[in-house]
C-alpha cells in the first residue's frame, strides 16, 4: 500500500468519525439565473448612507448637534425607558457604574441601528446585508431558511438574523445577541435570551425601523421603539478604516488621551 493510499484511508476514517457531528447545510438551493433576475426586480432599493435622525449632521467632534428647542424627544434603542425587572435594573446600574472608563470598537446590535455611523443596505433575493463604516455587518437571510438548530447557535455582538419580505417591508427576527452594553457602553442591558423583532421600510425619504424586543430575563413585558433613519449628506463612498490608533487611555477610572505614538511616515 502506498503512502498516498494510507493517507487517504486515514482521511476517510477521520471524516467517518467526524461526520455524525456535522449539521446539515440550512441554505436552500440557489435560484436559477432567470428566477434570480425576476426576484431582484420585485425587491426595493434603499441607496444611501443612513444614520438615525438623532445623529444627523454629527459634528467633527463626534457629537450629535443639539436639536432645536422644543423638538419632540426621539426614541432610542438604548433601552433607558424599557420596563426592566429587577435583573434588568441591576444590569442597567452595573453599566452606568462602569461605562465611564470603557471603550468600544463599534456599536454592536441593536445600537448600530440607532447610530451616527452610517450604514448601507444591500438587498438581494437571498439576503439583505446591513454594513456600517466600522465594518459591522448584519446578514439577514431572506431565502426561506429558519434559524440554525440549537447546536449551531452561539451569541455574537450582532446576533443571528433571518427575514422575509411583506411587500416592501423587511421583517427581521434576531436572536443570540451578546449583552449589548458589554460591547458598547451605550447599549441596552438585554440578555442573550432576548428575541428581537424589526420591521424596516421606507416612508417618504425616511428609512423607518419599528423595533420590538422580548426578553424574559430583563424585561417585565416586550419593549418597542421606532427609529427613523435619514440619508446623511457628504458621503460619496464608505469611509472605512481599521482601528489603528486607539489613544484612549484610562486614569482614575475615567478615560484620557494618551500621547501620540511614533510619527507616521509622510508627515
Amino acid at each position: 500500500m502506498s503512502l498516498r493510499s494510507v493517507a487517504g484511508l486515514v482521511a476517510a476514517a477521520f471524516v467517518a468519525i467526524a461526520s455524525p457531528a456535522l449539521a446539515q447545510d440550512s441554505a436552500p438551493a440557489p435560484l436559477s439565473a432567470e428566477a434570480r433576475v425576476e426576484a431582484f426586480a420585485k425587491l426595493p432599493y434603499w441607496p444611501g448612507y443612513w444614520v438615525s435622525e438623532q445623529y444627523q449632521n454629527t459634528t467633527i467632534g463626534g457629537s450629535a448637534p443639539a436639536r432645536p428647542a422644543g423638538s419632540p424627544p426621539l426614541q432610542r434603542l438604548n433601552g433607558f425607558n424599557a420596563p426592566f425587572n429587577e435583573e434588568g435594573k441591576r444590569q442597567q446600574a452595573e453599566n452606568a457604574r462602569t461605562r465611564a472608563g470603557r471603550r468600544a470598537d463599534g456599536w454592536g446590535y441593536p445600537m448600530m441601528m440607532d447610530a451616527a455611523t452610517p450604514f448601507q443596505v444591500t438587498i438581494t433575493p437571498e439576503e439583505t446585508v446591513i454594513i456600517n463604516a466600522y465594518g459591522e455587518s448584519r446578514h439577514i437571510y431572506t431565502d426561506g431558511r429558519g434559524f440554525p438548530p440549537e447546536e449551531d447557535l452561539f451569541p455574537t455582538v450582532w446576533g443571528t438574523s433571518i427575514g422575509r419580505w411583506e411587500g416592501d417591508t423587511l421583517v427581521i427576527e434576531t436572536i443570540q445577541v451578546q449583552m449589548p452594553y458589554t460591547y458598547f457602553h451605550g447599549g441596552p442591558p438585554f440578555s442573550e435570551q432576548a428575541h428581537y423583532y424589526e420591521r424596516l421600510r421606507m416612508e417618504g425619504d425616511y428609512l423607518v425601523l419599528d423595533f420590538r424586543v422580548e426578553d424574559p430575563v430583563t424585561l417585565t413585558e416586550p419593549w418597542s421603539a421606532t427609529i427613523r433613519h435619514v440619508r446623511e449628506a457628504g458621503y460619496d463612498r464608505m469611509m472605512r478604516m481599521d482601528f489603528s490608533n486607539d489613544r484612549t487611555g484610562q486614569e482614575d477610572g475615567v478615560n484620557t488621551i494618551e500621547p501620540p505614538a511614533d510619527e507616521p511616515e509622510g508627515q
Partner: protein, 124 residues
C-alpha cells in the same frame, strides 16, 4: 452672567446626551468649558477610532506645549468636508475645544478655523 452660565450648562447637557462617539463616553471632557487654542499643526492623524490634531502652541510662559486634540472618527469629518490632507504640518490654525478634565493639554474639538479665521470644513 447667570443666564450665560445656564446656557452653558444646557449646552453641556445637550452635548453629553447627544454624544455620538461609539468608542468612549464624553466623561473625560469638561463640556461646560470651551477654550480656543492657536498654534501650529505638528501632525494630523486621520485614523480610527478617532482623528487627532497634534498642535504646538505657546503656554503663558511662552513655552511650546503639544496638545492632543481629539476629533470624531474620520467618517464624521469626511461628511463635514474634511479630508486626510485638510491639515498639513506647519499650518497655523485655531481650535475651539472642550478641555480634558484632568488638566492635560488636550480636549475634544468643536471647531477649527485657519489663520485668517475662516472655518475649515463645516460643522453644522
Amino acid at each position: 452672567m447667570r443666564f450665560q452660565i445656564a446656557c452653558a450648562g444646557a449646552l453641556a447637557l445637550a452635548l453629553a446626551g447627544g454624544g455620538a462617539q461609539a468608542h468612549h463616553s464624553f466623561a473625560m471632557f469638561d463640556l461646560s468649558k470651551e477654550v480656543t487654542v492657536s498654534g501650529t499643526v505638528k501632525q494630523f492623524q486621520w485614523t480610527n477610532p478617532h482623528a487627532y490634531i497634534q498642535l504646538v502652541a505657546k503656554d503663558e510662559q511662552g513655552r511650546d506645549v503639544e496638545w492632543s486634540m481629539e476629533m470624531g472618527a474620520p467618517m464624521y469629518l469626511y461628511a463635514r468636508g474634511w479630508r486626510p490632507r485638510t491639515l498639513r504640518q506647519g499650518m497655523r490654525i485655531n481650535v475651539k475645544l472642550n478641555p480634558l478634565r484632568n488638566g492635560r493639554p488636550g480636549g475634544v474639538v468643536r471647531d477649527v478655523t485657519d489663520s485668517t479665521g475662516k472655518p475649515i470644513g463645516t460643522n453644522r
